[in-house]
């Protein structure tokens, strides 16, 4: 199992070292810190140094490292590190940074003590941890803290380990956000090589008591489970995965999504759809190299949705690193060359449905003699948000909430389609 967890900053200094076993010492990480982290030499996220394996991930300016000398479950090690980031974010108000770690090191140690025991991950639910590990500042006087704490353990180990009992809200509300990330890989000839939607249903619950929720989508399988025919309005999900609160057994047998939600925000499910995707934008790029020092660019972007409006649309057109001068004319928005990334960035704050905008430009490059490698022509990427559009065609059919006290719930559903990896090769 995991022997130690280190938090290390970008310079390679150890901020926190917590040993769970004594076979990997503080100093054992030295070789790893110097050769991998400080040298930024990431040829693999798991590496062996002096017979110990080191897993590492990075979150803002901190590396989280787990070390072991055994044949541990590698995906568990990574999942644990990611869960750790979530825990810290929950405690530090959303941001997890070196400064926050330095300022709260006693708290960090306390959390590390609770989330893992002898290298075995234990409960990583922020909501529950907060019931008995206080943040500094809001600490109760010692006696009361202990009383509050004594209520916690039953819930930590209970079957509904993600929700504490006795939650009360005056107004019971649920927010459902359907967030779809649209991925596209288009060849330079304009054929779609790969396109899919990876979606998340993010739920924000402010519900009293222990509510049991049931949830329905227009997925073919789910509708068949309810005895309905998946008609023309239905979509086909390739795969779904659920938050740990969802009863998987029940989903497997009758395709019903039932669960007792955690309090606050969480990702209820993730899904993937790759058939019949409505790609929000079509990009038609022409990038011509005129000799060794000039480029001619012509990019057309067409919105393929109607009646809604896209926001913050950005088209990033990579240019050769030796670009010297760029002149552009854009039908809408602004285009600007950003030398740090060697990209021509074309920003449009609004992009109404069924419209097409074009950008044309000329690029002059400085001639470089030593440069023998041809320009690798990286792909054009796009960023966008289109509210009230689900690129996969998914919609939420119902969300039912049952609770003993039978209160009324206000439910909100939003949809948004965003860019995932939206790439057009040129």
């Amino acid at each position: 199992m995991i022997s130690a967890v280190y938090l290390i900053n970008l310079k390679g200094e150890i901020l926190i070292y917590r040993a769970y076993r004594d076979d990997v010492s503080r100093a054992a990480a030295d070789a790893f810190r110097m050769q991998v982290l400080a040298a930024k030499e990431f040829r693999s996220p798991v590496q062996v140094f002096e017979k110990a394996s080191f897993f590492h991930i990075r979150s803002s300016n901190v590396y989280l490292v787990a070390a072991t000398r055994e044949n541990v479950n590698a995906s568990m090690a990574f999942q644990f590190l990611f869960a750790l980031v979530e825990v810290f974010k929950g405690y530090f108000g959303g941001a997890f940074e070196e400064e926050a770690v330095r300022e709260n090191f006693p708290l960090v140690y306390e959390l590390l003590d609770e989330v893992m025991d002898f290298g075995y991950p234990q409960s990583c639910s922020v909501d529950l941890l907060k019931t008995f590990i206080m943040q500094e500042g809001q600490q109760l006087d010692p006696g009361r803290a202990l009383v509050a704490a004594s209520l916690a353990p039953a819930q930590v180990t209970g079957a509904v380990s993600w929700r504490r009992e006795g939650i009360k809200y005056r107004k019971n509300e649920v927010f459902l956000d359907v967030v779809e990330n649209v991925n596209l890989l288009m060849s330079s000839k304009g054929t779609v090589l790969k396109s899919d939607v990876t979606g998340e249903i993010v739920m924000k619950t402010y519900l009293s008591g222990m509510p049991e929720c049931k949830f329905g989508l227009n997925d073919k399988l789910m509708m068949q489970g309810e005895g309905k025919k998946g008609g023309s309005g239905s979509i086909e999900m390739e795969d779904v995965s659920f938050h740990q609160c969802v009863k998987l057994g029940k989903f497997d047998s009758d395709k019903a999504v039932t669960f007792i939600p955690p309090d606050g925000e969480f990702v209820l499910m993730k899904y993937r759809v790759s058939d019949n995707i409505n790609l929000p934008f079509k990009v038609s790029p022409i990038v011509k190299e005129l000799g060794r020092t000039r480029l001619e660019i012509n990019v057309k972007v067409k919105a393929q949705y109607s009646s809604v409006t896209g926001l913050n649309v950005i088209v990033r057109i990579p240019l050769p690193p030796n670009t010297a001068k760029v002149t552009t004319t854009a039908a809408a928005g602004k285009a600007k060359y950003e030398p740090e990334t060697s990209e021509l960035v074309w920003r449009m704050r609004k992009f109404p449905g069924d419209t097409e905008y074009a950008l044309s430009g000329e690029v002059e490059m400085s001639a470089r003699i030593e440069d023998k490698k041809p320009w690798s022509r990286p792909p054009i990427s796009m960023e966008f948000q289109v509210p009230m559009l689900a690129a996969s065609g998914l919609h939420v059919r119902f969300l039912k909430i049952y609770e003993k006290s039978n209160y009324n719930t206000i439910k909100w559903v939003r949809y948004i389609s965003k860019n995932g990896q939206y790439l057009n090769r040129i």
Binding site: K51, N71, P106, Q244, M269, R272
Partner: protein
């Protein structure tokens, strides 16, 4: 709070802290404890504050108490006697009404690895295992595993294993999953009977699975994967129960479920069931590819295994593995392998277009691998070979240096697989001869020229071009040039007669590489005695090759499938190959061969490989360079085989050659006292710490004369000279009789020498050394042009004593009694048969017999 990190380095800080820790002001005390923990985090030594910190243990503030516990866990080991002070507090806490405090006490006590404390732990632990609160029970379950690590006997004697097994029926899922984890660990660590999976246990675990936390599910699934059901019905039943887990958001749950399913499918025979489950595995694996890059990496390494085991799992999902421009390099590299595995006649067009796209990217290693993958596709899919070759030709025309070279290497393999089919591309290849600088590419090109010498009009000229720089080429290229010239001669004797003579003369007279020289002699003899035989041998048909780049040998694959999601499946190595336990070492050698293909990448980075080759050469030369080598036919046949194993031309240093080298060194070094240990001296200074100087050494007795046997290896690129060696004062007063004299050691060379030692009373010094190091430590200093290094070694009792020496009992008695009283110390030895002189004598003899074990 941030100022805790700033005001460091003050004088007498520890003394100040000591005062603050003893303060009655709660806040002051709390801040002081925090400062101590901060210093500990920064790596400062705060062990001296042990007593003061432990005194803060009974504070009512939970936060402070946790920090004190943290301190205890870190330092108890260095101060076991003081740690006992804390025991009372723990025992008291174990009876606290608050379950959090009880659990905290049990958890912390288990982490303090001090034998004395463990004994006190047993009672509270027993109570905690039966605690009414599940939070305490789940903590206690893990604590049993902790105790087992310190003292396995205690756990078995106290019946804790049975208690844990009872806990598998606990009503609380987290208690069950932690008990499973603890039992699994205990059974791996030496009590295999701890966790015996019976039908009924498995049913219990499957029932709990639904309610467990995500981590608990992983513990249980990992244990289930090692269970073999009694019949097919049971297997199908388990399959049904675990399948819903594939929909879990946690990738570890998904992969562990996959492991259980893939293993169970071996037992199920109903092809319909197998098909259903194989189909069900695909989508969840694809979903893993939308996770964070690190998780994708683990998933990809696993997918390579799963696809080899069940090729149909992802057969229609090739697009998922197309590389994104900003994927991290480690994800891209693995995706390439998966793409080749999934390539088939239907999707090859798309896959090839992808590879071509990748070949224009920037990362050189990635580009080369992409090119290589095109070749692998050609070898794998006969129908697509021509398209692959066309793509390669297009890439060669880009003239990007490393793309061209890689393409040439790949085309060589294609020629091997499909002889006489694509020679039309040779013309294109020949246009790029002057850009070649990679030796593998050169060797490949030369091989192609030799192989198709009859169709390349100017083959002679081309080879001639390479021959100009013959002496500067690597061995692989030299061997290929030699063979190619001979081939050319056999095919077109009229144009190559002069050339072959020249080459043979060159290699036999001027080459100092034994492999090249030997091959030269063999060809020479073969050609001069029987040209027809030479033709038959050198131009024989070659065995066909397959794409086995990724094929993992069947037995290893089975083992790795059982380890899906584990590190073993990421490294593609058996756990024994990377886990450093005493037990593991014994079976290491058996596995070495199987690991070779995978470790190739890793070893390539180690300069050590070439060094070993270097040192192994010397004895090989002497053995092979006999004055009158008879050239029997068998030798020649062996030689052609070598020739055929094209890519294996560079001889890997074999195990036997290496050990021969060591033996020869031993013979030069004179008779050694303990032959078993003489080959390898313990390492005193590793090369990476010694700026390229590696040093081994041990104190030994040779012919009754005490000496320090030292070996210096030079791994640096400069000549190692001016070595000077000194010993500090030590317990037995050992010192050098004469200064060390060593010659210069060239790069890659080594020097072994024994310096005589004598005991000098003025050099005796008895001092308690810091930490847990014993008094038998001797400090050493080595100076050379690479720097000054300070090291420590221990003096072995066995090396110091005179063999076969005996003392009359009365003389011994009087000597003993004449010792001054201040030289005596008393220590209680437990577990020793004190009242039985014979047993003591026997024990001493045994420990003396085992050289190197007896230390004082």
């Amino acid at each position: 709070m941030s100022n805790y990190f700033k005001d460091q380095g003050k004088r007498g800080e520890n003394a100040e802290l000591q005062e603050e820790l003893a303060s009655t002001d709660k806040n002051k005390k709390r801040d002081a404890v925090k400062k101590v923990i901060r210093d500990m985090t920064l790596g400062k030594d705060v062990a001296g504050l042990f007593t003061a910190v432990v005194n803060c243990m009974m504070t009512p503030n939970l936060e402070v108490r946790k920090l004190v516990y943290l301190y205890l866990i870190n330092y108890a080991k260095t101060q076991p006697d003081l740690a006992i002070m804390a025991v009372n507090g723990f025992v008291k806490d174990c009876g606290d009404p608050n379950p959090i405090i009880r659990a905290l006490a049990v958890r912390t006590m288990g982490c303090i690895r001090v034998q004395q404390i463990s004994e006190y732990l047993c009672e509270p632990l027993r109570r905690a295992l039966k605690d009414s609160d599940p939070y305490v029970r789940k903590t206690a379950a893990i604590c049993v595993a902790k105790l087992y690590e310190i003292s396995p006997d205690l756990v078995t004697d106290q019946g804790f294993i049975d208690t844990l097994n009872d806990m598998l029926g606990d009503g609380n899922p987290m208690v069950v999953s932690n008990a499973v984890a603890a039992l699994a660990e205990i059974s791996v660590r030496g009590t295999p009977k701890a966790l015996v999976l019976k039908n009924s246990t498995v049913t219990k675990l499957l029932n709990v699975l639904n309610e467990c936390s995500e981590w608990g599910q992983v513990f249980i699934l990992d244990v289930l994967s090692s269970y073999t059901p009694s019949d097919k019905t049971e297997a199908v039943n388990i399959l049904e129960r675990v399948k819903p887990r594939l929909q879990h958001a946690n990738s570890a749950v998904v992969l562990s479920t996959t492991k259980v399913i893939v293993k169970l499918l071996d037992i199920v025979t109903d092809s319909e069931v197998v098909r259903t489950y194989v189909k069900a595995l695909g989508p969840p694996l694809v979903t893993l590819m939308s996770n964070e890059a690190e998780i994708q990496y683990v998933a990809l390494r696993n997918i390579i295994l799963i696809c080899q085991k069940r090729p149909s799992v992802l057969s229609n999902e090739v697009k998922v593995f197309f590389c994104k421009y900003n994927d991290p390099i480690y994800v891209k590299m693995e995706k390439l392998d998966v793409l080749v595995m999934l390539a088939n006649e239907n999707n090859i067009e798309q896959v090839l277009m992808e590879f071509m796209e990748y070949a224009t990217e920037i990362d050189c290693e990635f580009v080369c691998k992409a090119v290589r993958c095109i070749g692998r596709c050609a070898i794998k899919l006969q129908g697509a070979a021509e398209r692959c070759v066309n793509v390669l030709v297009t890439l060669i025309q880009t003239k990007v240096n490393y793309v061209v070279q890689e393409a040439i290497i790949v085309i060589r393999d294609i020629f091997r697989k499909y002889p006489n089919k694509y020679e039309s591309v040779i013309g294109t290849l020949c246009e790029n001869l002057d850009t070649l600088d990679n030796s593998e590419a050169k060797a490949s090109m030369v091989w192609i020229i030799g192989e198709y010498a009859e169709r390349i009009d100017n083959a002679g000229e081309l080879l001639d071009g390479f021959l100009e720089s013959f002496s500067e080429e690597t061995t692989a290229v030299q061997l290929q040039l030699l063979t190619a010239t001979v081939k050319l001669f056999l095919k077109r004797p009229q144009i190559a007669q002069e050339m072959v003579k020249r080459v043979l003369a060159l290699v036999t007279h001027e080459s100092d590489n034994p492999d090249v020289r030997d091959r030269g002699y063999m060809y020479w003899r073969l050609l001069s005695t029987n040209p027809e035989a030479a033709k038959a041998i050198v131009l024989a048909d070659k065995p066909t090759i397959e794409d086995d780049t990724n094929l993992i040998e069947a037995a290893l694959l089975e083992d790795l499938i059982g380890n899906l999601s584990n590190l073993a499946s990421v490294y593609h190595k058996r756990p024994t190959a990377f886990i450093d336990r005493k037990k593991a070492n014994d079976s290491m050698d058996d596995y070495e061969e199987a690991e070779e293909p995978d470790s190739a990448q890793a070893t390539a980075k180690h300069p050590q490989g070439s060094r070993e080759q270097e040192s192994a050469k010397a004895p090989v030369v002497d053995m092979l360079m006999l004055d009158d080598p008879v050239a029997p036919a068998t030798q020649a046949v062996r030689e052609t085989k070598l020739d055929d194993l094209l890519s294996l031309d560079a001889p890997a240093p074999t195990q036997s050659a290496r050990s021969q080298g060591a033996d020869l060194l031993d013979m030069l070094g004179g008779p050694s006292p303990a032959p078993a240990s003489s080959g390898q001296l313990p390492t005193l200074l590793a090369a990476d710490k010694g700026n390229g100087m590696e040093m081994h050494g041990a104190i030994k007795q040779v012919n009754g004369q005490l000496g320090y046997e030292l070996e210096f290896k030079n791994v640096s690129s400069t000549v190692l000279n001016g070595i000077n060696f000194q010993m500090n004062k030590n317990l037995v007063g050992l010192a050098l009789k004469a200064p060390l004299q060593t010659p210069d050691v060239p790069p890659g060379g080594s020097h072994r020498v024994t310096v005589a030692l004598a005991s000098d009373p003025s050099k005796i010094e008895v001092k308690p050394h810091a930490g847990n190091a014993g008094g038998n430590v001797v400090q050493l200093a080595v100076k050379s042009n690479l720097g000054v290094f300070y090291l420590t070694d221990s003096i072995e009792l066995a090396a110091m004593t005179t063999p076969g020496f005996s003392l009359a009992p009365n003389v011994y008695m009087s000597t003993w009694q004449n010792l001054p009283a201040e030289n005596q110390t008393v220590k209680d030895l437990s577990g020793f048969p004190m009242n039985n002189p014979n047993a003591i004598e026997q024990a001493l003899q045994v420990s003396m017999g085992r050289r190197g074990r007896g230390r004082f």
